[in-house]
Amino acid sequence: MNKILPAPMLSLFLLIIWLLLFNSVSPGVTLLGIAFALLIPILFKPAWPNFAKVKKPHLAVVYFFILIYDIIIANFKVAALIVGKRRSITPAFFVFPLDMKEELPVTILASTITLTPGTVSCEITRGRKGILIHAFSEEDPNEVIETIRHRYERRLKEIFQC
């Protein structure tokens, strides 16, 4: 199984991409897609790191929608600030202390931080202890840290069980 299907999630993902690309689920396309979805992970297996496995896929879906929602909100907030009182913003640098160490979850978290309200993850600090964040306009970093911890990090830990 491992030989034929080294990364089932990836294969599935690739198949989806394939079908999206062709915009068709005709037998020919699907069969070929399956072939590629199986072949490519085998070919690129050495380059596929030992990523943490998604243990709770349904939570991942929830996470995804929360993320979409937050992205939209984030946009409105930042847009309002840009158009409105951009000279009075109070940017801030602070560190979000990480509670996880796994590569993939940390990456997802950092990406999430960047995509969501008023924060950009600038650095992952030494020993993967924290994420240096730049906030667009934030008086109190602790509030942000709490939100991130609660809203994203917690969920990610659940999804990946780490």
């Binding site: 991409i17 999206l20 690309l21 915009n23 992205i71 939209i72 984030a74 946009n75 930042v78 847009a79 840009i82 158009v83 951009r86 000279r87 913003i89 109070t90 940017p91 801030a92 640098f93 602070f94 560190v95 950092a110 990406s111 999430t112 960047t114 995509l115 008023g118 950009v120 993850s121 600038c122 650095e123 600090t125 030494r126 924290g130 240096l132 730049h134 667009f136 008086e139 970093p141």
Partner: protein, 125 residues
Amino acid sequence: MDALNELPVWSQWLVGFFILLGAIFAFIGSLGLAVLPDFYTRLHAPTKNTTLGIGGIVIAAIIVMSMQNGLSLSELLIAIFLFLTAPISAHIMAKAALHTELKMFHRTKDFREEGDAYEHEKTDS
């Protein structure tokens, strides 16, 4: 162009909404890039607004294509790739900015402690 006008009116409204939304967001993103005071704040504008702006256009495109030829989600791929890569770009740029010690907006509050970032360490070459 003519083909678009043949779409049902409700979908025209929907498409129009998403196009406008996307365009406005993207515009604001770029506006932010142009007018915000320092690099770090400017970084926020395009990574969020422009990305979402594209999202709007993508949705509009999906609606149009789907209305014409049945469900068509190809354009979703564009959004996927964009959402996957935009944070990395921002991350690397921010790293570079920190590394080159760019001047910050004077109102920036710095809660960093020594050792939070790598670039302050002395090299041992």
